[in-house]
Symmetry: D2
Subunit: 367 residues, 4 copies
């Protein structure tokens, strides 16, 4: 229980169901003095907005965010920041049918077994719609990263069989196609693939990569709160994620130590650098100063229009055709969610790191 709260110092607490009155998030532990406006938060929210592209759900929500507390005269005050988005586009009637059976690939069955009661409308609490709360909180976390000159961005690297080409990698391209791919050629191929999926009443999976540059060295706590461990919790909390890897990732299992170790050297400025970055920016569970790189595998949307076999709550075998509005792919809308969860986790670790040495504490209180 009490699973909707993340973080030790920078604490993010989400609430709300897909078809309830509203969804929201409370950010507790945000430092005072940060400029935050509803416009800024809204801009991030709009990146995951449904209906913004033909491959997203057709649900049409304005998803307008309101800041209800914790910001005074445009600045955070150090008290909890409550943000809310009211639900408007309720087509609950679409969901009466699904209250009778368990949709394959969905949370209906497990929620029902666990709680004995389930707001089934649109997936209720397990709806992807819950992630808009993370994006709102993530927008604040990103602002903090920005103040520290830390650069964080994510993008789609593959959809189905279509994968971006390293040679064509172009960061500017990410915002120029609806699939958030840093490669316009791959993006076009992927669009064709998705059109085919839609035609087949099917859905597609994909991979998102995230890169974080200019992280200070030493972020991540020893043992259980290592940087990848905290990111591990944060990222596997995103519903459709089935895999996560850092740096070389699964490929590392086939490498030898001599291939995988990153040699250190002193650069022309006398700084310590790594010749390679197989580690994905992490050594000993902490940031090592190189870019942090990780990839996430997303499953195809479980809601498809094809006929599927399943069971009713009364224990009957049936065949169903799910109606309603569904994304043929989760990946593009999840890009900003990945960024948000990564930012939230990193801010929490950056804060925790500040008491790692007594000199930091003496400097803080005596100077």
């Amino acid at each position: 229980m009490s699973g909707s709260i993340f973080g030790k110092l920078f604490t993010v607490s989400t609430w709300g169901e897909s078809h309830g009155k509203a969804l929201g998030v409370v950010v507790d532990g945000c430092p005072a003095g940060i400029s935050i406006t509803e416009e800024y938060i809204q801009k991030e929210l709009d990146r995951r907005k449904p209906g913004s592209n033909p491959y997203g759900t057709k649900r049409n929500e304005s998803d307008e965010v309101h800041i209800l507390s914790g910001v005074f005269e445009g600045k955070t005050t150090g008290t909890p920041i409550s943000m809310i988005v009211y639900n408007q586009d309720h087509h609950s009637t679409d969901y009466n049918e699904i209250s009778q059976y368990y949709r394959p690939g969905h949370a209906d069955y497990t929620f029902d077994k666990k709680y004995g009661i389930h707001d089934y409308r649109g997936g209720g609490r397990s709806s992807g719609r819950e992630t808009l709360c993370r994006v709102a909180a993530g927008a604040i976390a990103k602002k903090i990263l920005h103040h520290l000159d830390i650069d964080l961005f994510a993008y789609t690297t593959s959809i189905g069989d279509i994968t971006i080409s390293e040679n064509r990698f172009d960061r500017n391209a990410i915002s120029q196609n609806k699939l958030y791919m840093p490669d316009m050629v791959a993006a076009e191929q992927a669009e064709n693939y998705l059109k085919q999926c839609i035609q087949e009443q099917d859905s597609a999976g994909g991979v998102i990569e995230c890169v974080i540059s200019h992280m200070p060295v030493g972020i991540g706590e020893t043992v259980f709160y290592k940087l990848p461990a905290v990111l591990g919790q944060a990222l596997f909390s995103i519903g459709a994620v089935k895999g996560l890897e850092f740096g070389e990732g699964f490929a590392v299992s086939k490498l030898k130590g001599s291939q995988n170790n990153d040699a250190f050297y002193i650069d022309e400025n006398g700084s310590i650098q790594k010749k390679t970055n197989h580690s994905g920016g992490i050594l000993g569970g902490m940031s090592d100063g190189s870019p942090i790189v990780f990839r996430l595998a997303f499953k195809p949307t479980p809601s498809i229009y094809q006929t599927q076999q399943t069971v009713t709550k009364n224990g009957e075998n049936i065949h169903i055709n799910i109606k309603g509005r569904h994304d043929p792919i989760i990946v593009p809308r999840a890009v900003v969610v990945v960024e948000s969860m990564a930012a939230i986790a990193l801010v929490d670790l950056l804060f925790q790191n500040m008491v790692c040495n007594i000199n930091h504490i003496i400097n803080f209180y005596k100077h």
Copy 2:
């Protein structure tokens, strides 16, 4: 800070350095009434004991565990269980040299930058030796799973290029080869591969898989404490892990919804079953009653005997030859560590689940 404590209700807190006086673990929140002996814990510890096979480090520790508290007349009392292993085989002199430079692939650099001081002997706190504490705690968690008839076991699926064959899968084989592979043919091939690595003064990576059967449905909390999220933190806290995937894992990104969805059906006993288990036993972030299946990618041991390039703490480029005793592969000794962390995480979630419905609480207190 405070990174050495894991769990909300079943809390595991490890301490100790590789070459300090001792290492230990405190398990707080273990229920009363469980039979625990030092012999039982020892048996688990011996599974990760160094020196037990030619591919493990040559360090010879008896690693004898002592239970110092929390067990009375052979049973747990509900109070913290403190377990300790004294260090005996200190060859700290081997480590004087490494105090001068940063070993590639190791935590030396990041620890030094973070804390400004570092017990460099044998890796200090970041030594794999810390994991013996997790195994001791994991032994208790496994006992609890055993009481609930939950079956959990892990094994090596690949080392370098050598992968087990599904056709030859034999659970009994796991304990019959030093690499913990469920396939004696692959185990022999992998031994040959490792011999070659040793000859080349190099090291190898690999993959470990873990299967958990007979989990009750509905374990895992909504949103941030989903089953894969909690396992994500637990498993990425193991030092050499670079990737984690559940069920179809990364392969899911290329599947379509119609291929990946697991159809439900009612079996002859009237129970709900899944036709397939692409989900790896998890739906909506909770156990779905099917076996939970995940895989972990381990990097090759960073300590290799080949000459490597690195830098001194004084900022000089140098070439080094690491001495000392090192595993050419981490994977076989990590099998029991994976089991332990999985067991610890699952017990914590099993406990949290007990207050999910008011009827459970009324039953507990009024009957």
Copy 3:
């Protein structure tokens, strides 16, 4: 930071400022299956409503609560319950003046020093108005206690010099006078005392007592989460509380062991009972089956109309006359807040207790 979240399993998270857009609370970890309506919550809120008696602040808020999530078809679903109260009666202009100086006895000075920015309007986050969020969450906690047949109630025992008489103690009287005293004679005397305070432009303090009956034995965790420790945090988090005592309380320091020990005996039903209850229902940090009894000392409202000496933010000595609407006494409106915080703390401990013995866990999962 992150100070607005209370509890381990039954987690209460409040947000909002006195003169912001709204205040609210998120209850995460509430079990599914509890009947909750807005009417029920409202009834509790109305007990602390300002303006309901001549001794409360004259601020006139309807304080209407809305449940935004976590309740479906009248029952809790196990997901976070978000409740909100919109602010309506903003007289922010009253507060422009106080933005210039630090009011004696208030949080202005410390908030300003800590955060560097402060929503000073009506005390902002440190306003007593924040406690309405606790009352809304406490209403849910009370419902859980009610399901377990645990009886919890609080009342005023003294205001200024006026103290209730044990002989006249009448539980029914509590709701029959505006001061929540279980003694109508004392209540009348206290009303006269308060009238005098108002005439003198002064304010009064008092004492609240709380009694919890039919608690199961053994609630409270060993060492740092003892029953009085958790109540200690919960109750001292109420702004104006300056003292807390259990059972004999401070008087215990003058008693001898032979006077203070409560003898056990077997009653006619074969049950273990205590002859006396000097312990206030707590032994070894756990509930002992006798009524839990504690008392809280509340300071007089710091906002008084008399001229006071203080300083401006610019460092000048000044004399001030605080305007606005202020309670001459906090105590009567705090009675329901005390009940709420006690209920929240006890529910969290009742939940934690459920995993104290392996047999409970086996019973839960195997039967």
Copy 4:
């Protein structure tokens, strides 16, 4: 469950039973770079050592502390500090008898009912002996306070009816009498009182006061982690404490606002000061720069030699005469425990405060 861990960032985890093999504590989250020796910790431990005065238990333990981890070359490394004290003076035979019945005023009954199993020897986990772990951890916390020039000390203000005189208050006297009273006259009177208690086979209670000077302003988090709330948990976790009050404490209930408010003024150095300190150094739940002052009421030792009425575990009414070695008073040995818990709580809050403003974080990472 999991009640033996205190703190968010500076985390103290105690373990061990009175008559088990050892007791110990793990301090996780202690910053690197602090000079710590076993001699330093020992000195603090010796202040609560049994047998050091005629009013303490006659148990003769050397209580020698060993630091097992987290300190390298005399300095903390930022990793968990494990400290252990082995038990030597086991007279478990004294305790066979008490395994049969429940001692009045002790935890026997509640532990037995909660856990179903109980290490009854010497009180097991609920023994006052557990507090030596807190003193060892507190010694480290005090070192941190010392680095920040914060002055914290406690002393006995009353034993039974004997109370110190404000006029004779002498800080130097505290260490010059066995009762830790800052008034040699009162100390002599109290010794006579205790002799009488011993003669009567009875025990005495008392009051301890603690003063913390030079705290920075603004320590304590809003709402649930207010300074008195965190101290409330910390101090009520000490077994025999029955009351806690800050500043004017319970007396505040009879004061008027005009009497209790502390007027601010600008002193000759241009600093903000308070004319009085009725608040006990706390405003709005945070330190206000004035000395923090609190008092704790301790109950008389429940173990007395007089015949007492109680019940056996088999449900029989009996009369008992407790044997063994018992303090006629807890108070003098608890003085250092109070200091320790206060120091631990304050260090945790001092750490949490460091991320209250974005400028602190920017300064830390960018300068």
